[in-house]
Amino acid sequence: MNAQPDGKGQYRSSDSRKRESIFKRARGIIWIGALVILPILIDHPYYREIIALIFLWSAMAGAWNIVGGYAGKFSLGHAAFFGVGAYTSGLLYVRLGISPWLGMIAGVILSVLLALFIGVVTLRLKGKFFALCTIAFAQLIEIMGVYLRSVTGGSEGLQIPFNAGFWNLTFSSKLTWVYVFGGMMLLVYGISRWIERSALGYKLSALREDEDAAEALGINTLWAKLACISISAALTSIGGSLFAQYFLWLEPSFVLGIDLSIQFALYAIIGGMGTAIGPILGATLLTPLQIFLRAAFGTSASGISMLIYGLILILVVLFMPKGMAVEIGDRIRKRSQSSRVKSTSGEVSIVP
């Protein structure tokens, strides 16, 4: 699917296919095992915090990628869904004492409704016009968050009380949060992989390339776009609710701000849009980088950290314009192809 040539696999013998699927499953188990064991080994709250954030932002970049990568609709308003999720569960918990687990569901419902509304209004727009419209919607919600002070606490922020307990979705151990966010990341990854293989994934990549041609082939492009923005909004909203309970402090300028929207997009772009693993790669590289740079230069020269961060981003974009996942994948494929051509040079190169 997505950017790579596909479809060469499915006419091979069932034997090799079976072997490959066993190999893939084993590789998956090893990865998940590493994700479970590694945080236990790293017994330091600071590093555990970094890992927790890597997982959370990976999940959010992955959720953005469903719209921005698979459907090619460049949203710069995903903070709206994140903030709606955070504020819905946070406010229900603080003001009415409703469990954040239920608040999370309420947040998902609200976010999906918002996504459908935004979708119906803006999804016929293309390219930058869609991006501008999503910024406008997110700004609207941010302004509402500031002005509805009696409800949201306005710019002073919303403090969420710390009462550790499962039902309160509040954990005192950093390790628990690492696993919660890790689970979230796996959920987003799993859904992304499912979309890639499903009919929806084909439809999204078709409409990303050419909407008119997709319509001509019988695809209800509006429906496909609404489905994908709803899935993305729901996942982003869940991330927002989790973040609220983790951070215990909400502020419109952060959870609803454009910086956060850009951050989601940036992780996915650097890591590789339109791939399931790309957003995870991007967040894994950039989250600790940001934190370390800020820690290293934050006090002595506060601007320098952003400067270096910006330089690194420029370098990555210059040398890996398609994103890390795609570029690395291309390189591996090229190497394996060139070795295959050497071994069977006769039959490969004849076809014009």
């Binding site: 596909d6 319509e215 082939l217």
Partner: protein
């Protein structure tokens, strides 16, 4: 099974692109749609497949009034078109391009891949199934358009200049492919400028000029028609050669 238009008219501001066209394509006919540049052929396709809403008139397909329907619904009903300027999904493989079409009636991607592969075989592109559509030569892109449309299992196909830009060898190939599709039971309307192809494979020819239907008949009749010659050559030369 039939495709009919009643008094179809399309006006863009002051320009009348299609004027009172009454088209009748019966079941499994292979009909050529010809006419000089700007005659309104592609506009007619655009109206029939729902890209434009006509200023006036109706489109009826298989006894259902599809005027104003969304394009994807019309395709699902069995009326699929190709684009004159080919529009491949460049970053997908040829097979995946066709799978998108096959998903029209087959929700499972695995099965859709089989349908898609067969469609690629029909146009003779199966050996390139895995390569990207990006940067394909024109002949391949035209075949890919056709394969994608075929994968939607159309009852009637609207082909917009699938032979434009092909070399004589490729034109012959395309002619036999189209004839084979027709023999397998699909109705075809063919917009084409390659006259030798139109005359050799079409059962009937419809001629448009300035948006109006000026003639219809067998290829032989059309070749002798005075109005048609005037449209193509101008009054002076049509007199001389007739």
């Amino acid at each position: 099974m039939s495709l009919e238009t009643f008094d179809l008219t399309m006006r863009f501001g002051g320009l009348v692109a299609v004027k009172n066209v009454n088209l009748q394509i019966h079941g499994k006919e292979l009909v050529g749609l010809i006419g000089p540049n700007g005659a309104g052929k592609t506009t007619l396709f655009n109206i029939i497949t729902g890209y434009y809403r006509p200023t006036n008139g109706r489109v009826v397909f298989n006894d259902r009034d599809v005027t104003g329907w969304k394009t994807h619904r019309i395709t699902r009903l069995g009326l699929c078109r190709t684009f004159q300027l080919t529009r491949p999904f460049s970053h997908l493989s040829l097979l995946d391009n066709v799978v998108v079409g096959a998903l029209c009636h087959e929700p499972k991607p695995e099965k859709a891949k089989e349908i898609a592969y067969r469609a690629l075989q029909q146009v003779g592109l199966e050996m390139r199934a895995g390569s990207l559509a990006q940067g394909m030569p024109i002949g391949f892109r035209k075949k890919l358009e056709l394969a994608r449309a075929l994968a939607t299992k159309p009852k009637t196909l609207l082909l917009d200049e699938v032979m434009g830009g092909l070399n004589p060898h490729e034109v012959r190939e395309m002619c036999s492919t189209i004839s084979a599709i027709h023999k397998a039971g699909t109705g075809i309307v063919l917009i084409e400028h390659v006259m030798s192809a139109v005359m050799s494979i079409c059962q009937r020819v419809v001629v448009l000029h300035h948006g109006e239907q000026i003639a219809t008949g067998t290829p032989n009749e059309i070749g002798k028609d005075r109005a048609v010659m005037e449209a193509y050559l101008g009054k002076k030369y049509s007199n001389g050669s007739a």
